[in-house]
């Protein structure tokens, strides 16, 4: 009798889980978490970027979502965001005027193909949260943190930027 009650309780829990499964889940990007993850990923590069890295936050002033994302990122970084001995500083810049940085973060809405063409010769590591940018080769590293952290790396694009990731870290991410 006890076993019957136990199995009934378990079946109820399973049904509740199945009902929850039918509920559509919502997804949303979180630029603050994305830039924090970007800073952490930089610590897993083989390259020595130095103790202080300026990340160019590339935005399109004609697109409100891009501007909003840029503002959120710059505010989140503030005077500097530290991960261990590495401190990243944010510098907003428009596409077409990317210069003086080793790493850029591309916000949503920016023409990433154009950014890719602009940065290729300058050997800048391009990071974004739009995986289409990574698939196209314009971005070397794609980072999304919502709902879970996903990191996709375009090996050719990263190599073209003169960068490489540590071996143990490469085994934990998706490479294309």
């Amino acid at each position: 009798m006890m076993l019957r009650a136990y199995l009934k309780a378990v079946a109820t829990a399973v049904c509740a889980s199945a009902f929850a499964l039918l509920s559509p889940a919502s997804a949303s990007a979180d630029p603050v978490k994305d830039i924090q993850a970007t800073a952490r990923v930089l610590t897993f590069l083989e390259n020595d970027l130095g103790a202080r890295v300026v990340i160019g936050v590339v935005f399109d002033p004609a697109r409100s979502e891009s501007v909003a994302e840029k503002n959120a990122i710059i505010a989140a970084i503030g005077d500097g965001y530290s991960v261990g001995r590495l401190t990243v500083v944010g510098k907003p810049m428009e596409a077409g005027a990317i210069h003086g940085v080793k790493v850029i973060f591309v916000t949503h809405g920016v023409d990433f193909a154009a950014v890719g063409a602009e940065t290729r010769a300058k050997r800048i590591i391009v990071v974004g949260s739009d995986f289409a940018c990574v698939r196209s080769g314009a971005c070397a590293i794609g980072i999304a943190t919502d709902p879970t952290v996903q990191i996709v790396v375009n090996r050719n694009a990263l190599a073209a930027a003169g960068a490489a990731l540590k071996a143990a870290f490469r085994m934990m991410i998706h490479e294309i």
């Binding site: 006890m2 076993l3 136990y6 199995l7 378990v10 829990a13 399973v14 889980s17 929850a20 499964l21 509920s23 889940a25 919502s26 997804a27 603050v32 978490k33 924090q36 993850a37 952490r40 990923v41 930089l42 610590t43 897993f44 590069l45 083989e46 390259n47 020595d48 970027l49 989140a76 503030g78 965001y81 530290s82 991960v83 261990g84 001995r85 590495l86 943190t145 709902p147 879970t148 952290v149 996903q150 996709v152 090996r155 540590k166 071996a167 143990a168 870290f169 490469r170 085994m171 934990m172 998706h174 490479e175 294309i176």
Partner: protein, 667 residues
Amino acid sequence: MKRHLLSAAAVVGLVMGAADPVCAQSIDYGSLEQLFNEPVTTSATGSPQRVTETPADMTIITQEDIRRSGAKDLPTILSRVPGVDVLNWSAGHTDVSVRGYDQIYSPRLLVLIDGRQVYLDDYGYTAWGNLPVTLAEIRQIEVVRGPNSALFGFNAVGGVINIITRNPRYDDTNSLEMHGGTQSDRGGSAVGTLHFGDRASMRVSVGADRQKEWENDLNAFASWNAHSMADLAVQLSPKTELRLQGSLAGSRSEDMVPSSNYVPARYKTSSIMATLTSETPYGELQARTYLNSLDDRDASPIGLFHFKNQVAVASLQDLFKIGTRNTARLAVEYRNNRENTTPEAGGHVSYDLVGASAMWSFAASNRLSLTLAGRLDHLMLKRSGTIPPGFLYASNALWDRTTDTFSANAGIVYEVSDRDTLRATYGRGIQSPTLDEYGGLQLVLSPGPYGPRLGGNPFLRPSVISNYQLSYDRVFESLDAKASLKAFVQHTDDVKGLWDFAHPLVGSSPPYSFEAVFANASRSTMGGFELSASGKVQGGFHWSADTTYTHIKDTPLSGENLIGRQVAFGRTSPRFRGNVAAGWADRRWAVDGFVHYVSAYGAYNAAGALERSPAYATLAARAGYTLSPGLTLAVSGQNLGHGRQVQGLESGLKAERRVLVSLSKTW
């Protein structure tokens, strides 16, 4: 929320130290965990993975879980993991298994500290009170359910527990802790991390604990343990790291031995291990060697059993990525395991083992991955020295035998969506006979040519365990929760059974002595399911609940008796067990409660009969208050619901209510 995140992350970054962008070969668990927001492990395949992506059924217990558990020993912490069974025989002796099959000196669980085996290879069990590790220096405990012999080798059949300590290169761990409470319980520990320039760091720990034995009429007064460990990490070059670890441990406990008698046992263990890791154009190469020594004295009424066991292991592995989708691991291992015979001395039983393994993991897409692993082991058994008169296996040549075994693991992980993951796994594990079973245990029960003997069996076959499992994991974002449903079937061939004087070997010519030996006694099938869920609620609350059901059916081999050989696991294993936990924390306070439930089960008494132990539920709790940064005062209790409770053998010692007060400082 954003400011809190940034502040917390910055503090963690300062505390954890740098992940130097130029160097670092060993895994920086802390940085990876911060990045992926979940624990990271190598215990599933040998390559670093996020715990949600492993092709294995794994639970990771974090240091935060350990701190808030209120427990001062590992079995209590493990008892709250879904599917884990514990048998508490006395204050200092607990046996642990996964999904049934628990028994005295449980041999189905492989226990490691930083990849070094710490289960005792003479009989294949773990003396939990003798482990040379302090709770404060543990980064995480990885619990793998099911066979994982393809990665870890023998005895990884019911599961694997890999205790990962803090790496002194990345983790600045310093702590002092002392505790005292009921049953005259008192103890403490200290952990310190030293840095020698930029290239070398060392962590040192010491710990000791003493507690009165549970109420008994055995003249057993107390169990105690003392241990120390040193862990040195040296960066030899930007891509090469050497890690040296040494440990010493001593303990005394009132052990329940396989004949179901209580025997005072004293353990002394020591170890030394060296691991060299280097990133090369051929992948990450790792060479490891370690030596374990055991001195175990059991003062039983029928004689002093003095086991001296040495295990020497050397291994080499290469972990590399091929292209963008394939990760591979190749490894070879040599092992020598040696033991004296006891209590009848004069002989040594040993084996040399050579093993080769391979693992291949293929990421078909960013949502689908396949992992295959296999391992071949060649074991060469040997015996030297004298054989006392009257033993029926009377020639050392009978031990000149070899055994070849194959173990395998396979897993498919499919992320149906960002929130749903399906996992299908298969494992084939090997449980090798132990040196005691092969002949290290050599006992004359009564002198004279006709007196019964108890001895080893060089013809014992390894047990083969096959495990099939399907699991589904779901994240409920809106509830900040997750749930998991698993179904599994496990089959064991050639289950090893205890000696049985009702089925002895009998000499064919005078003197007609008879001898009981270990034997393969049955085959067994286990099926079941597990349901678990956990989550957080705004305001600092968290909760978890799980239940695991198992049903075991045993079939004796021809001429064997399940009770006589003590392999009636269907009758000794509980059908279901579960846990409910809840806790709350703010800046100063952390309060947690735990309920663990076990259904009725069986255990053998000293007469060899099967006793029924009643179902039970235990209540534990902890309340901690942060007096100042790093300084915590805590009160915790175990078995709070009952003054004395059967958690092992009905006619054995009973677990007692226990309350502890502890003061700890970390910096």
